[in-house]
């Protein structure tokens, strides 16, 4: 009897952050709606969804890398490269959009493969390696664009960012399809379990027969491939390609992943989608209130801190780690 009660309590406790976050989400939307009646009209809901599509795809790529316990500090720079590369292939080389998109995704995953190989096979430190590879990718992006904008023809723009299928724009369809595949991959298949195993303890994962290097490589390649979509969408939406387009999505990507981590207790695909939606709604809502854009950035930083706080508080419940501050005293008393 007592046991069941306890179980019920823990279940309730487990779902508390999810409820709190959903309530917070509704409250935020309501506040924006009251302050700015035009906030959730049919026309603007698609622009919000489009933005969510770009951010959540990049953040999903980052999620894979964070699941295996590594960091990628350069996904936004790879996005800079892929965006420019995509427009270059279409405008300057005359390749049809569909093939250009496939090529771009391949290039994006190649950048990921470079980082992944260096990190997994050669045991380079992940943060620095990704910064170095990102720096090279960024330079390569300049090589394509020649430090100028590449303007897209209107039909290209319509073909990618503004094409509607059943009145829903194409990027949103692509986001839905990719996220469902990723969700299935992470939650329902063996490979998803392997990802989480590597993240929890790479040594134990290796000893239980998982090819850690291959998993790391796959994670980084997926990260590169997914951020390629973000680069394409963001550049196609604004109608011209510039190297700096995706430069500012780094904090948004990280906050999306960590909000998801805070809600669902692990870095996961659905959590990241939720986090991306939250940060995009807040940023865009502030923009529609005619607040300057930097308030959106400040809000993103605050969300990130709050998300971390929640996830850290939960960690402290479980882990037996002694706080660093108290330790010296105990040692002294011994």
């Amino acid at each position: 009897m007592k046991e069941t009660k306890n179980k019920a309590q823990t279940n309730w406790k487990d779902s508390l952050p999810i409820i709190v976050f959903i309530l917070m989400f509704i409250v935020i939307i309501a506040v924006f709606r009251i302050l700015q009646p035009g906030f959730l009209q049919m026309s603007s809901i698609y622009s919000i969804l489009r933005k969510i599509a770009s951010i959540s795809l990049a953040a999903t790529g980052l999620t894979f890398i964070i699941i295996i316990g590594k960091f990628d500090m350069s996904f936004h720079l790879v996005g800079c490269f892929t965006g420019v590369c995509f427009c270059f292939l279409m405008v300057k080389m005359g390749i049809p959009p569909f093939i250009a998109a496939i090529l771009t995704v391949v290039f994006g995953s190649l950048w990921g493969a470079v980082t992944g190989l260096l990190v997994s096979k050669l045991k380079f430190p992940d943060i620095i390696t990704s910064i170095a590879v990102g720096s090279i990718a960024y330079g390569a992006g300049y090589l394509f664009s020649n430090a100028a904008y590449i303007y897209l023809h209107e039909d290209f723009e319509k073909a990618i960012a503004y094409k509607n299928i059943f009145t829903v724009p194409l990027p949103i369809w692509i986001m839905i399809i990719i996220l469902i595949i990723c969700y299935w991959l992470m939650e329902k298949t063996e490979i998803g379990r392997k990802f989480y195993a590597v993240g929890a303890n790479p040594k134990a994962a290796y000893l239980s027969g998982i090819n850690v290097n291959r998993i790391t490589l796959i994670a980084f390649m997926l990260g590169g491939a997914l951020v390629a979509f973000t680069g394409m969408f963001m550049n196609a939406e604004q109608g011209f390609a510039s190297v700096t387009t995706t430069q500012s999505i780094l904090p948004q990507g990280f906050s999306a992943v960590f909000i998801g981590w805070a809600i669902f207790k692990k870095p996961c695909i659905h959590g990241t989608l939720f986090g991306a939606a939250l940060s995009v709604v807040i940023t865009l809502g502030m923009a529609q209130l005619n607040l300057p854009y930097f308030w959106g950035n400040l809000a993103t930083a605050c969300i990130l801190v709050v998300a971390l706080l929640i996830s850290i508080i939960k960690y402290n419940d479980r882990s037996a780690m002694i706080p660093a501050k108290k330790q010296p005293k105990e040692v002294a008393s011994l």
Partner: protein
């Protein structure tokens, strides 16, 4: 080893770019741009040497820069405005230290959060545009200071050398400096040995913010002569390239202050030379990235060699 690279790069550009490169005026220019860059990264070097990361330094610089420019234009004296600027930068350092030590966040994530917030605050002074102070900047003390030079050495480079020597002394000859290296190798062991690691972490992040703030001030007054809201990506990439190249000098595989100074000179030497050759911006960016990769590679391989293969699993 790093000296060798420096001489190699210098010789290469001397041959290719000719006399315009090794004229004393150009050397002064190279050192002048290396000075503040090195100062900005000294603190970061310590943080990285202790096994953590600080990605907030460009934003600390820009917040200081904007705060200074704002108060200076509002009519405060330059000394007071600099003080406000540096205090603003230090607050950012204290903020990241608070998040990392008290709340035990991952250093990378918390400095990303702090840098985003700091960047937003820096833009909020003017709504995203730069604040020009060029007409009156010549009156300030730091500007005068940076105009002096001794031989080919500009004053700002000598200041950087001075700071580097002091910090090198602290890092190598004092207990505190040895703790930095020790934390970098095994923080748990240091904590178990009864050392208050949180105090050391606090000092590291404060020093990092102080260095970045001072460099931001120097940049504002001498280089940009305006408050810059976004120092951003190029400082970030250059910064980490310099710090990790610095680990190739003197103590192989350990980030140290003198190495940072030398590699700052290397990087500005390279940028200057490539610009004189009329190279594309992308070439500079690519070569910086490759240089960083090479540096990290050398460090990784020497470290693995020194550890040896005993007790290592195959995948390690």
């Amino acid at each position: 080893m790093l000296f060798f690279i420096l001489i190699l790069i210098f010789a290469f550009f001397c041959i290719v770019a000719g006399s315009s490169f090794y004229s004393s005026r150009n050397i002064t220019n190279i050192l002048k741009s290396a000075g503040p860059l090195a100062i900005m990264l000294f603190g970061v070097t310590w943080v990285v040497a202790s096994g953590k990361t600080d990605v907030a330094f460009p934003e600390v610089g820009s917040l200081t820069s904007m705060t200074f420019a704002y108060f200076y234009l509002a009519g405060t004296t330059s000394a007071l405005a600099s003080l406000y600027g540096i205090v603003a930068g230090l607050l950012m350092g204290a903020m990241s230290a608070f998040l990392i030590i008290k709340l035990k966040f991952n250093p990378l994530i918390s400095t990303i959060a702090v840098s985003t917030a700091g960047g937003a605050l820096a833009t909020s002074y003017s709504g995203g545009s730069v604040i020009k102070i060029s007409a009156i900047a010549s009156k300030t003390f730091i500007y005068e200071l940076c105009q002096w030079k001794i031989g080919v050495f500009p004053m700002i480079f000598l200041i950087a050398v001075g700071i580097a020597i002091v910090m090198w002394f602290i890092q190598e000859k004092t207990k505190f400096g040895q703790y930095i290296y020790a934390i970098g190798d095994n923080p748990q062991a240091v904590r178990e040995a009864g050392i208050a690691t949180w105090k050391i972490d606090l000092i590291l992040y404060i020093v990092s913010a102080l260095c970045a703030a001072f460099a931001g001030l120097v940049y504002t007054i001498t280089v940009f002569s305006s408050g810059q809201p976004i120092m951003g990506t190029s400082f970030f990439l250059n910064g980490f390239t310099i710090v990790f190249l610095g680990a190739l000098a003197i103590k192989l595989g350990k980030c140290n202050v003198l190495g940072t100074l030398i590699s700052a000179v290397i990087l500005s030497c390279m940028t200057n030379g490539l610009t004189q050759l009329g190279a594309h911006y992308s070439v500079t960016q690519l070569s910086k990235g490759l240089l960083l990769l090479a540096g990290v590679g050398v460090i990784t391989f020497t470290r693995r060699k020194s550890i040896g293969k005993a007790g290592m699993l195959k995948y390690e």
